[in-house]
């Protein structure tokens, strides 16, 4: 296995593991606002590692540019969507638990 394939393996496995950890956090954290942090893990490092792993496997420049666009869209739109959601939740009356650290 050459170096490029090895790096792809590592990045893809790290990315998939990051997404699983993010989903576990979404299940186990006690509070809505804590769960937004867990969801953010998947959008940032999960997507980043998986897309970088795929970039190493791309054969043409067009694929690399498309992957960069996918990453850029996810990285730019995910914080905006999270912000809109948190604002909607606060306006809807959801408050942070006092004792959940």
């Amino acid at each position: 296995m050459n170096g490029l394939d090895l790096a792809s393996w590592v990045l893809l496995c790290v990315g998939a593991l990051w997404c699983v950890v993010s989903a576990i956090g979404l299940l186990r954290l006690p509070d809505f606002y804590a769960r937004t942090h867990a969801a953010g893990l998947c959008d940032t490092m999960g997507a980043g590692a998986i897309v970088c792993g795929l970039m190493l496997q791309a054969t043409t420049t067009a694929e690399v540019i498309k992957l960069l666009f996918v990453l850029g869209f996810v990285w730019f739109t995910s914080p905006v969507a999270t912000h809109a959601l948190v604002k909607a939740a606060y306006a809807g009356g959801v408050r942070a638990d006092e004792g959940s650290g």
């Binding site: 496995c13 299940l27 054969t59 996918v70 905006v80």
Partner: protein, 94 residues
Amino acid sequence: MFATAMVGILVAMGLLIVRAGLGPTVYDRILAVNAFGTLTVLLISVLGYLRGRPEWLDLALVYALVNFVGVVAVCKFSRFGGFATDRLYKGSRT
């Protein structure tokens, strides 16, 4: 390697569906569906490479945008009760 990543993403998607079903408030469900959409984008990309069709990246690109627009629309709807905001801002809670 693509199959391993795909299995990991599918496991995460399953856990997110559990949160979407459980979530005590509607906002938990919207959060789970937003993360599910991001995972769908990643799954389409990985599946494209697994099947030897990297053209599927175009689908992933489109779905990334669709997911964003959908989540913002649902947040707007749950906050204001509608999509037209110039009338609704006056009476809304902030």
